[in-house]
């Protein structure tokens, strides 16, 4: 049996008295795209930071690609990658230099060929010799995505990957990610505030509120279960604790 791409059990994180994650459990099956939704401060970035090894949890277990991530993260990190608006790349290095450094860090064997593929497919050819600092926000997002794909990861963690992209470029990025996922069988954990995007691209959605996963299902199933027209309405119900979601929480409290 193939192990899940991500298996998280009873994961919690406390900063003193503040509970950032309250014992969450979830599984991302291999080859699937999972959306991680939640209002600001819900715990999405904390979850992703733990899954990247940038943050140690207070308790819980994390298995990634079949490995105990908390004990042996360096066995798995070469097979993962990420992009996040909370981090950036060296501003004065050119795009080519930046990607060359990261290709080496991830031990990419056919570096030149891989970079050429990324320049071509992400439409970065014209900027390859320009300093990262001189790019527009949208161009930087594409470079961040190129960096995230440089090692052809089996697991991709994307925090708002299409933020600051115009609709046309965002759509091309989504199609690129979908094609990449279909071609490589990679798994993607996708945090976004763009509900239409999540609805289109994700097989499964986790909705977080105050450090807890308060709902989860396939996008269509969530919409049907909540009796709403789209995922954005479901999301608002869940984070505001209104509609059918509030009623079901009320019932479960009384049970």
């Amino acid at each position: 049996m193939t192990a899940a791409a991500i298996k998280v059990e009873q994961l919690s994180k406390h900063y003193g008295a503040v509970e950032a994650l309250a014992g969450i459990d979830f599984t991302v099956p291999r080859g699937s795209v999972c959306g991680l939704l939640g209002a600001n401060g819900a715990g999405k970035t904390t979850t992703i930071a733990i899954l990247l090894g940038l943050l140690t949890p207070s308790s819980g277990r994390v298995h990634i690609l079949g490995e105990d991530f908390l004990a042996h993260r360096y066995r798995v990190l070469p097979r993962m990658n990420f992009s996040s608006p909370y981090v950036d790349l060296p501003q004065r290095l050119t795009i080519e230099e930046n990607l060359d450094v990261y290709a080496r860090l991830y031990g990419v064997r056919q570096r030149r060929q891989r970079l050429a593929e990324l320049f071509e497919s992400l439409d970065l050819q014209a900027f390859r010799r320009r300093a990262y600092a001189t790019l527009s926000a949208g161009q930087k997002t594409r470079v961040a995505l190129a960096k995230a794909l440089v090692n052809e990861p089996d697991l991709l963690l994307l925090d708002e990957p299409t933020a600051s992209l115009d609709p046309d470029t965002a759509d091309r990025m989504r199609r690129y990610l979908k094609n990449y996922q279909a071609a490589t069988g990679a798994s993607i954990l996708f945090a976004s505030h763009n509900m239409a995007e999540v609805e289109r691209i994700c097989d499964q959605v986790l909705i977080m509120r105050a450090g807890r996963i308060v709902d989860r299902d396939a996008p269509a199933a969530l919409i049907a279960r909540h009796g709403r027209a789209n995922l954005e309405e479901v999301f608002l119900d869940v984070v505001r604790n209104t509609g059918r979601h509030a009623r079901s929480e009320e019932v479960s409290r009384h049970e």
């Binding site: 930071a49 940038l54 943050l55 996040s84 981090v87 060296p90 080496r104 031990g107």
Partner: protein, 277 residues
């Protein structure tokens, strides 16, 4: 089984060297792409060398004591700059990662903290050679004083000061990791706190009795006393060198340990994603 194990170790070493080289390359790209940065490496050592070269020339015509050891002040200045450049080479390189908000990318990659440390030390060596080497070479035509006349002891002095600079640089980098760019000024200023008790221009015996143990606790004092022995007496004091090496081993281990502990604390506190300007 043994062959497999050796092959596995070999693969790991190759991968590790590749990652260290990637980080070195990252700083080389930065230097290569910016002539002001390149110039800055040599600027201050050269300015220092020029100032102290003139002072040395003045003393040589006005003081018998200094005249006995041509170039003692200039040698001291250049060696002091080795320490300063080595420390900056580590802490400024680390600071550049904070400015770039790049720490999250680095530490979510297969790069291990000890590999980052080795890369920082390597780039510090490169920057120090570039900066102090330029000044030392310029001193030859300008003042007919060559620090290279120290001969082989120069390599020992250079290495000791470089390693102590690395240790201080690692402690400063730890503070940057813990407190962010708010402590940026420490990177530039902290080493000067050690200058008065490093016996750079005067012997340790000049210091008050109560301060002398502090001076002898630093490898720098042993190096500069050793340098004066070579220049004044033509003698290389092995005891001073061994003391400096022993102290350096201690300080380098301490610096690495502090960095590693701070890194672990940064992972607990979630600082690796929040660092930036």
């Amino acid at each position: 089984m043994n062959d497999q194990f050796i092959a596995h170790i070999g693969d790991n070493c190759r991968a590790s060297c590749g990652r260290i080289y990637a980080i070195i390359l990252r700083y080389v790209y930065l230097l290569r792409g910016s002539w002001p940065r390149m110039l800055e490496q040599a600027y201050w050592p050269t300015v220092q060398m020029i100032i102290w070269g003139f002072i040395t020339q003045f003393f040589m015509t006005n003081s018998d004591w200094v005249a006995q050891a041509t170039g003692v002040l200039l040698s001291a200045v250049l060696l002091w700059d080795v320490l300063f450049r080595a420390q900056l080479g580590v802490s400024v390189a680390f600071m550049e990662e904070l400015f770039a908000r790049n720490l999250g990318h680095l530490f979510a990659s297969p790069l291990r903290p000890q590999e980052l440390i080795l890369a920082l030390l390597s780039i510090s060596l490169l920057r120090t050679l570039l900066g102090v080497g330029t000044a030392a070479l310029l001193a030859i035509p300008l003042y007919h004083i060559s620090i290279f006349d120290l001969g082989l002891p120069l390599i020992a002095f250079f290495t000791c000061l470089l390693v102590f600079g690395w240790s201080v640089g690692l402690v400063i980098s730890s503070l940057l990791l813990r407190y962010g760019l708010g402590v940026e000024s420490l990177a530039w200023a902290s080493i000067f706190a050690l200058a008065p008790i490093s016996a750079i221009y005067y012997p340790v015996t000049v210091l008050p009795d109560w301060l002398q143990p502090a001076a002898w606790a630093l490898p720098t004092s042993h190096v500069f006393e050793g340098m004066r022995k070579v220049l004044f007496d033509g003698v290389f004091d092995w005891t001073l060198l061994l003391n400096a090496v022993g102290l350096n081993v201690f300080y380098l281990l301490l610096g690495s340990w502090i960095f590693y502990r701070t890194f672990q604390a940064a992972r607990r506190r979630g600082l690796l994603l929040q660092m930036g300007e």
